[in-house]
Symmetry: D2
Amino acid sequence: MSDVAKSVGKGLGIGLIGTGYMGKCHALAWNAVASTFGDVARPRLLALAEASAELAHAKAAELGFATATADWRDLVANPDIDVISITTPNRFHAQMAIAALEAGKHVWCEKPMAPGFADALAMQAAWRRSGKVAVLGYNYIQNPAMRLIRKLIGEGTIGVVNHVRLEMDEDFMADRETPFAMRNEASAGYGALDDFAVHPLSLLRFVLGGVAEVFGEMARPYADRPHPDGGRRAIENYDIAMALLRLESGASGLLTVNRAAWGRKGRIQLQIFGEAGTIVFDQERFNEVQLFRREGMEETQGFRTILSAPVHKPYDRFIPAPGHGLGFNDLKVIECRELIGRIRGEEACVLDFDDGIAIERTVHAIADSFAKGGWIKVNA
Amino acid sequence: MSDVAKSVGKGLGIGLIGTGYMGKCHALAWNAVASTFGDVARPRLLALAEASAELAHAKAAELGFATATADWRDLVANPDIDVISITTPNRFHAQMAIAALEAGKHVWCEKPMAPGFADALAMQAAWRRSGKVAVLGYNYIQNPAMRLIRKLIGEGTIGVVNHVRLEMDEDFMADRETPFAMRNEASAGYGALDDFAVHPLSLLRFVLGGVAEVFGEMARPYADRPHPDGGRRAIENYDIAMALLRLESGASGLLTVNRAAWGRKGRIQLQIFGEAGTIVFDQERFNEVQLFRREGMEETQGFRTILSAPVHKPYDRFIPAPGHGLGFNDLKVIECRELIGRIRGEEACVLDFDDGIAIERTVHAIADSFAKGGWIKVNA
Amino acid sequence: MSDVAKSVGKGLGIGLIGTGYMGKCHALAWNAVASTFGDVARPRLLALAEASAELAHAKAAELGFATATADWRDLVANPDIDVISITTPNRFHAQMAIAALEAGKHVWCEKPMAPGFADALAMQAAWRRSGKVAVLGYNYIQNPAMRLIRKLIGEGTIGVVNHVRLEMDEDFMADRETPFAMRNEASAGYGALDDFAVHPLSLLRFVLGGVAEVFGEMARPYADRPHPDGGRRAIENYDIAMALLRLESGASGLLTVNRAAWGRKGRIQLQIFGEAGTIVFDQERFNEVQLFRREGMEETQGFRTILSAPVHKPYDRFIPAPGHGLGFNDLKVIECRELIGRIRGEEACVLDFDDGIAIERTVHAIADSFAKGGWIKVNA
Amino acid sequence: MSDVAKSVGKGLGIGLIGTGYMGKCHALAWNAVASTFGDVARPRLLALAEASAELAHAKAAELGFATATADWRDLVANPDIDVISITTPNRFHAQMAIAALEAGKHVWCEKPMAPGFADALAMQAAWRRSGKVAVLGYNYIQNPAMRLIRKLIGEGTIGVVNHVRLEMDEDFMADRETPFAMRNEASAGYGALDDFAVHPLSLLRFVLGGVAEVFGEMARPYADRPHPDGGRRAIENYDIAMALLRLESGASGLLTVNRAAWGRKGRIQLQIFGEAGTIVFDQERFNEVQLFRREGMEETQGFRTILSAPVHKPYDRFIPAPGHGLGFNDLKVIECRELIGRIRGEEACVLDFDDGIAIERTVHAIADSFAKGGWIKVNA
């Protein structure tokens, strides 16, 4: 029986900050990426940081990290660590990412970059100075079905795209009796616009490009919510947001997001209309793409349901048979592989801090337009 | 063997102007309404008017009318005629409807009322003066599934509605090589906004009510089309229109229509979000309603597909078994029965000229907003 | 104004026996066929027969027939009547059809031909002697979507068919507390096998051909039902039937029918597997055909949903726009047009008494196989 | 920074034999189970066996195992190994499982147990003697949606089940020009019956129980395939199999499998009919359950689509938000956790060698029935 350890190429040294849902997702991805893809050395899970030493220790044991700390700066200072996963609440992203980049680490940071745009710009600047890789956790773009959509559009399968519709809906704020919480305060941001809009906008950017001009509108399904201390308190931001879009490509579009949409659980619907066909996608069935092409006999034209399959890379690295279905967490494993690819200097499919800035600029422009009541240029 | 004719209650005397698709639909409805419903006397199909005497005669034979004429004023002058169906191109509606109403006829007029709003207002005024019944051919509201939706909303099944999304798409202008035609000229109107928007707006009005304020946007999928005389000619109106809506009820919404949407054939999708549930409807599967209600155990909640059934009146007058499916033309038969009911003074489910004005006012407000770049109040 | 009556070609003289659901359907079809198709003279609705003179008279007024009678033989004796629609309970079909054919009438008879196979054979013999047209009311085959399926198979779009699956389900016997009734007695026949199997078998025959050999199985979801007189009474026949099929073409298949299938309202699902593709159809969405073809790039292969459209004849006679949807009753209008075509000596798409015998022979073979426990040849 | 290794409870020692698709799946599961569930010690991946030392070494590096060997008996002999994953071709299962069990190891063996029933019985006997845990890799039962179905049935949500339909279809043998291979020889087994039937039967067993009696039928879509050496060679087994079922519970059913079904990629459809409702499931959309319940107002009854959610345990261990979707490989992680639970003496949701025998006995009975042409009792 041969001992394997010595022969393994030295994998990247990994540090993880945060162990909420996204932290767990990153950890699962770091654990799985080598086994799944078979073409990268197994990452070395060196250190995990959490708010308390106790939690850090417990989570490190659970997630397979060798050491634990209550001080995330320990990771930044650790010379063996090559990449730092940042999965803390958004308001901590900027300081952590900037410190990591300045210490020469690559950064894998959850989206959005930061609640305030100035912080996001500072992150971008630090990244540009660093020469390191900085990747945002826009995992929906990693879906092989989404890559198929990008490929189809790129190859002209539906011709020049002239119109898009983007919707994102969940129902975690749909119950009007959900108590008033910090997320309902104005200081927590715009509401659904912050929570959701970056996701469909990331998909739009990935498959089609950026937005030139927006007109925004926001709405409150409910005026108030019960306050934990008794009585009701007025909601200060918006559980619904809408925007008319003029894309850089010249296409028209609209975006609408709703976090009070009963029955919608993880819906991100894209409808993409082109001069030769239409593509429809719904994240709730994300192993499927709907494609209509104006071709062949009219009598047999129709929307076809394409099931994800090994032919749609890198689905094949997970399952050799078609139609068996990837899971949401698998998208993070793909993202992890792309990050490693980017670090290795390969062509990689990621959204970096420049992309992040473009997406967040669009979000802020929508809010700005809503405040001013007119069209706003995103890059003005 | 008994002779039936003498015993039959004298049915309404009917005149029909126009025999295009909607004319045929009216004729089929007049032929079928008594057999289908069994509670109205068979209408007497007295006279049909078409552009030429020859066509009128041939169509009268085909559609079961007793006499034919090339002059629609013959119908207005005929004292035996009680109701006139007006199914000509929109630009003729006003003069015909006004003449018929002034002659004491009831009017069943296809939508929209008129290309120009002044004409529509004149029709409304003539109707109000006449004391007669005037019904617009908004047949989509006659769908038992749509009545179910109205009933569910009315009974509070999904609670107070706070957000709606309306889409209508077809693809008859999707081919960029379809030759330039009159419909692409500015003089033909706004484009998709005129062609389509009244339909979803009629459904919205029927199930929920009116629109208070709009912000409009229009777009051209293609800049030009081949001109029959050679070369290409710039398209002057818009195959796509979008609008943000603020409803009279306080709900937010959006509307988008596209007559260049490849693969969409008769799609009118409604998404209606309420405080206790969500309703989704798609005209391409118009015998189905999707309903989500927040009730019962969370583990078995989900959107349910309700198939039209005898319990959804008046489906039962067509088919005694559930799930067998009404057809598009059946909706016109229901509309015909409602029209008769309105004439008989019964509670009836129709959109009259007041409703028509409200709908068309909304359309014009969207166009106006697009021109001005700001929100427009519909009733300003 | 010209008088139309004199100029109309003399249409067929029609008699109708029975005014239950199917009787109403026939009447609606006779009223609509000329207006819908525009290429046949308007039928003259001469006489209607019902069980009582009073009902006959009332229904004649409702359905547009000129005379009414309580004696169906009056219709047979009426020299002006060309076609007799037979829509009475199945046990009366044989005597009526035979009398009508012997009197030189064409016959349009609802399916199945007769509860007993000997009666069905006698009908077939009378028909062959008569030289007249006899058409069975298998209206599901008249669906333009079903004709598309037949055309696709005929043209080899999915290659040689090697396997089929047929299911038909409704839920009108699903409630175990539905009182015991005549239909649950052995004397009423096999149960679901009689009620349903002819429908999918008619579709199979229409698109693919006949069945050579069967193995049958039947089952009772419930052992007994409450008896109206108190207590419970054992159910004597079967609400579920299944059969393995060996088709004349060599393809394999299976058939299963269930009249106690909660939630299924009018489901007839066909799955047809061929060497180059697969076709799936569900009557509950009968304006759609699902088609998979092994062609083109693998990455964009998938089942496509084809919506019924004018290109699928004769959908265009009802609606000039695609995707608007035919209704169940429209299928009877098409059947009526085909019947007239057959009478006029045109190529027509109908199932006649020979087809009916082949279908009913298959049903009886399934029952026979169930009784004997072995494979049965249908034509043995 | 604290060192984690010492504090971690000693996890199970794992050996893996085989690194094809299922071997990779086991490895991914062993790597992920602790991070995903958070309530088990991280397994120690000790040794991997493959056909050659070189491959074993490479795969061990990839999949995270500490040592590698070309002799699987090294794993059986290793006192630190607690559990052996057996993922080799089926014909090796018996000797490996028996050796492992006899050496006091727990066994996680891919399905089916063995090509020959005698071997399966020997495995069962060895397992019973051993007192160890033996779990079969029927991962489809681990789907939270499937557990929901079992729960709903168990709680009587659809009442007593009286009828089931099971279908499993893929298209990897649908191309008639796929060259003749070993799998087409009679010595390779029955064909689709072996490949597929155990899967729906495992689901049936899991949610409802066993099969008492069967009637089988098999069919060949194609008579022959091109032989690699030229010419064509007759196919010796069957790409399609069907069976009528009489369940132990008294319910009726049918099963059909087809490995030549164009367009079907991973379809396993269950239709389960009960006295109070119906459940439908399709593996191609395995994050959804369709449920119809006869309850409430008839006008809002319909099949509801339930999306997998945290409330459906253990979905919540993967994703805290509903509707985001598990992947096929996640099912193996759940299976791994159940296996550990069974080893720890907890209530666990697995199919063991007794279940495996019952399933495989059913498969052999179907083949036997086909050979003999009559009904066969499964436990005769």
